[in-house]
Symmetry: C2
Subunit: 214 residues, 2 copies
Amino acid sequence: MSIELEHVRPADIEKRSMEIIESELSAPLDPVLAPVIRRVIHTTADFDYVKTLVFSESAVEKGVQALKNGVFIVTDTTMAQSGINKRVLKRFGGEVLNFIGDPDVAAEAKARGITRSAVSMERAASLGVPLIYVVGNAPTALVSIYEQVQAGTMPPPALVVGVPVGFVNVVEAKELILKLDVPYIVARGRKGGSNVAAAIINALLYIASSNERE
Amino acid sequence: MSIELEHVRPADIEKRSMEIIESELSAPLDPVLAPVIRRVIHTTADFDYVKTLVFSESAVEKGVQALKNGVFIVTDTTMAQSGINKRVLKRFGGEVLNFIGDPDVAAEAKARGITRSAVSMERAASLGVPLIYVVGNAPTALVSIYEQVQAGTMPPPALVVGVPVGFVNVVEAKELILKLDVPYIVARGRKGGSNVAAAIINALLYIASSNERE
């Protein structure tokens, strides 16, 4: 078997990938949402996201504006944190926070019989400022956000990226977020992940950067 | 719409997830490969991996043995590095290396017109010891491994986890690895990712840990 590699310069690989994705879509995407949907497909090679990604009214515009204003981001995993383009984020004044590894978070979670992710979201809320919440792993983090928004104990999120992956309470936790009156980007169903979460934030960051250049 | 959450204790979520995965499989898995395949599905909620994951002869056993011997791991992304369970790895004496962020790697890649990932794999090879190569993102890293093994400039890898995701040369680069006489775990086709890469290594680490306890 002979294997032919396509000759593409490193700098052009992403552009070529996006062209392939565009050419395989069965219908044109909403132009505002397209950069986010395309980047998620680029990250997963999974076209299911065309159907499963749900955006609240003006979610992309609101997320981009928040990032331009230097909003802080909180993630439920170090993997999502690792995947976010911190260089671009920092240019706007933003930072990525993550409480999952804090020893007292683990202790509190154990004492209360809840997940570290849920405790992390309470820590984030206690900062008292609007944040972008990025959940790629833990449905319990989404449930915590839902309960805190409903209870009024969390400042209104600038955006909730709700894309945990899995089999236990994942579908249900995402549906809870869809009931909230907050900006959200959610991948309905079981699929998602920290890579998807990071891809969504990076897509927003690149929109923010390209607006800036215009 | 009423949303019912299943009551599962934090410590039992993974066990319950694995039970659901097991119950939805259309045929029983090979018992040696099952822990790896199940963990990848757990990480992606994507049953395609039952068909796409390819294991060289005794790849799981060889990977587990190498980890128990304290092998070092090199990844192509910080995200894969971030997802690997370093606590368990460290217990066996292993570490995760990553050269992608080194400034001189970027400079060399630019000068030679190749990717930073490809240069990273050369840096890893130059250590002169067998490593586990974990590629969740860059097909060019796999091509580099293929060329170096063929040229004899890379010590025989302890294992190659070849699961990059994407649209440009990804399918082809994975097929190259299947031609090598080295232990490999490859996800054929376009799908994969840093999360899949980390899940495979973590599955091997958990097998190694449970062997240890027996």
